[in-house]
Each structure stands twice: as structure tokens, then as C-alpha cells.
């Protein structure tokens, strides 16, 4: 069921990317899309009654039922790259605003 919610989040983000003309809203849409994708990738590895893939003193054997650790490792990578792209996008937004004094793409004029 949570996979449908993740696909819904992805589609909300994509709709926002297609229709918004405000640069801040475009970056927010990109982040919503990314979070939906991350939840979807995590949900692929979920196992009922599975425990987090960490050996501790109470869950101390690799013979126990774990959830899939590989999607979690991939999402760790995806989150970091998402932070990098968001920072770069916001830097572009800041320089657009300091030059044109607006955040709407339609109001940006050639000088």
C-alpha cells in the first residue's frame, strides 16, 4: 500500500515540475519527486517481520530475517546527491533573484 503512496508522491512532484513557473516551487517539486522515489526504492526491500539490517547484541545472528540492505544503501547515495543538486539549484535561484529581482520565470526579461 505504501508503494501507491510513493508513486502518488512521485506524480505530485512531476506535476509540479511540469506546471509551476516559480523557481522555488520547481525545486520543491523536485524534492517531493525525489522523496517519493526514495520511499519507493526502500519499499522494494521490505520484508514482513524483518528487522533492520544491523547486528546488535540482541539481534546477534545473520540467520535472522532482515529487510533488504541494498536499497537502503542506494537511497543513502540518492539522498546525498539530492542535497547536492538542491544546493546547486538554490544557488542558481539566488543569483537569478539578485540579478532580476523576481522568482517567476515569465517575468525574467532579457536585458
Amino acid at each position: 500500500m505504501i508503494q501507491y503512496a510513493a508513486i502518488l508522491l512521485m506524480m505530485i512532484g512531476l506535476y509540479g515540475l511540469l506546471t509551476n513557473r516559480n523557481v522555488i516551487k520547481i525545486i520543491v517539486s523536485l524534492n517531493v519527486l525525489e522523496i517519493g522515489l526514495n520511499i519507493f526504492i526502500i519499499s522494494i526491500g521490505f520484508v514482513y517481520d524483518g528487522i533492520a539490517p544491523i547486528l546488535t547484541s540482541t539481534n546477534n545472528s545473520s540467520a535472522l530475517i532482515f529487510v533488504d540492505p541494498l536499497p537502503q544503501a542506494l537511497v543513502l547515495t540518492a539522498i546525498v546527491i539530492g542535497v547536492g543538486t538542491t544546493a546547486l539549484g538554490l544557488a542558481i535561484v539566488k543569483s537569478i533573484y539578485s540579478k532580476y529581482k523576481t522568482l517567476e520565470i515569465d517575468e525574467v526579461e532579457e536585458q
Binding site: M11, Y15, V47, I54, V67, D68, A73, L76, V80
Partner: protein, 247 residues
């Protein structure tokens, strides 16, 4: 008109994804992932036929008790090097777009921070830094590691920036730290090539699963990643909170 077109397009794409994955034999149902068919079963058993026991198994194929760490920094370590490079390039792009950090001055806040705010933020600063260092050091035993730990350290810097309008970090030191940590990561990888057989090989003994001093080079690499991520994101924060000096 454009909005209706976008709505139809997204609904169509969403239904396409749902129908493609629904009752697809090669895509496991939610909650019933079959790990024995996947490469993850190798990562969990660490390639051995005997069960890995926390605190007892000595010198397994990959040391960390946290299996996600053993994937991120051991099995797929080269991927992590690429990830760190992507973060470095985006931080470089931010500092190129927002101007050089040396000639700029601090952006002023809308309010005057009072005495309590300044002292309280400095008291919290130490606690947040300590939490970040703890998370970074125990990346191979508990949830966490270099990326979350480094982000916590950077968030401590952000707290000081937001609570004090005179504060400016010594950004040159961060740049040096970032460069040194990144180069040491590559040098450790090359050492694996020299001492062992392949790039980023774990050439130190793995030790007992669950010890703080275990799993060879993995804690060292994760500490370097934590330093690099922390200084990089602090540099990005400094770039965003400074502006050109009015001439």
C-alpha cells in the same frame, strides 16, 4: 490548458507504472521480498556458510555489524567515492555561482540577537558537534556514519550562523580540511592497490564483529567522509549566508 495536459500526463504515467508492476512475476509483492534470489543475501551472510554471530565471529569477509555500512564503504566503496565527488562538484558549483568567499561579508539578520540566544546557541553547538562525531565514529556499528554525522556537524555551524549576526567561520580552514580528507580517501584506496590486489581493498584485519576497533579501514574511511561532508556543507552554508560587499 497546460495544467490539464500536465495532469493527464502524470495520471497516465502513474497508471502505467502501477499496471506494469502489479502482478508482475519479476517484481516481488510489498512485504514479501525474496532475499535468497538477490545479491543482498551475500551481503547479509558476508559470503560465509557459517552464521555471523555478533561479538564472536572473527575476520569475516566484511567487518561492520551494520550491513548497510558494509555495502556502502566496503562492497560498493568505489560508488561512494563517486558520490563524494558529486557532492564536491556541487559545492564547487555553489561557490562559483555565489562568488568567492574571501571578499564577501556576512549577510545581516533582520533582528538583533540577544545575549541569551548567543550563549545558548554556543552551549548547544558543543552538544550537536559531539553527537555528530559519535554518529560518525560508530558508523560501522549503529545506524549512521559519515554522511549523517557530517551533516550534523554542518548543522551545528548553521546554528551559529543563524543565532549570531557577527559570526563568520574560518572558511579557508574548511577548504583545506575538505581537500585533505578527500585526498586521503583516494590515497587509502591506492594503498589497497599497492598492498593488496584492487582499488580500495580492505588491507587491515577485520577483527571481531561488533568491536569499536574492527573492520579494518572502514571506520577510517567513514571518518574521512564525515570530515569531508561536514566541511563541504559548512562551506555551502557560508556561501549562502554571505553577500557581496557594497563598494
Amino acid at each position: 490548458m497546460k495544467k490539464i495536459l500536465g495532469f493527464i500526463l502524470t495520471i497516465g504515467l502513474g497508471l502505467l507504472i502501477i499496471f506494469a508492476l502489479d502482478s508482475n512475476s519479476s517484481f516481488d509483492d510489498f512485504g514479501f521480498a525474496n532475499l535468497s534470489n538477490r545479491v543482498s543475501s551475500h551481503y547479509i551472510t558476508k559470503g560465509s556458510n557459517v552464521d555471523i554471530i555478533f561479538g564472536e565471529t572473527v575476520n569475516p569477509e566484511s567487518g561492520p555489524a551494520n550491513i548497510v555500512t558494509s555495502i556502502v564503504v566496503d562492497y560498493r566503496s568505489f560508488d561512494t567515492l563517486g558520490e563524494v565527488t558529486v557532492l564536491f562538484i556541487s559545492a564547487l558549483g555553489v561557490s562559483l555561482l555565489l562568488g568567492s568567499a574571501v571578499t564577501q561579508k556576512r549577510m545581516s539578520l533582520d533582528f538583533k540577537p540577544n545575549f541569551m540566544l548567543r550563549v545558548g546557541s554556543r552551549a548547544l553547538f558543543g552538544i550537536i558537534i559531539m553527537t555528530g562525531v559519535y554518529v560518525t565514529l560508530h558508523g560501522h556499528l549503529t545506524p549512521g556514519g559519515g554522511f549523517p554525522g557530517g551533516t550534523m556537524i554542518a548543522s551545528a555551524m548553521l546554528l551559529l550562523y543563524l543565532a549570531d549576526d557577527q559570526f563568520r567561520a574560518k572558511i579557508k580552514g574548511f577548504k583545506i580540511l575538505e581537500g585533505v580528507a578527500g585526498s586521503l580517501f583516494v590515497i587509502i584506496g591506492l594503498l589497497g592497490l599497492v598492498v593488496g590486489t584492487y582499488f580500495l581493498q580492505n588491507f587491515l584485519p577485520n577483527g571481531t564483529v561488533g568491536d569499536l576497533f574492527s573492520s579494518g579501514i572502514i571506520p577510517i574511511v567513514y571518518i574521512l567522509i564525515g570530515l569531508k561532508v561536514g566541511s563541504e556543507i559548512s562551506g555551502v552554508i557560508d556561501n549562502f549566508l554571505t553577500e557581496e560587499e557594497a563598494q
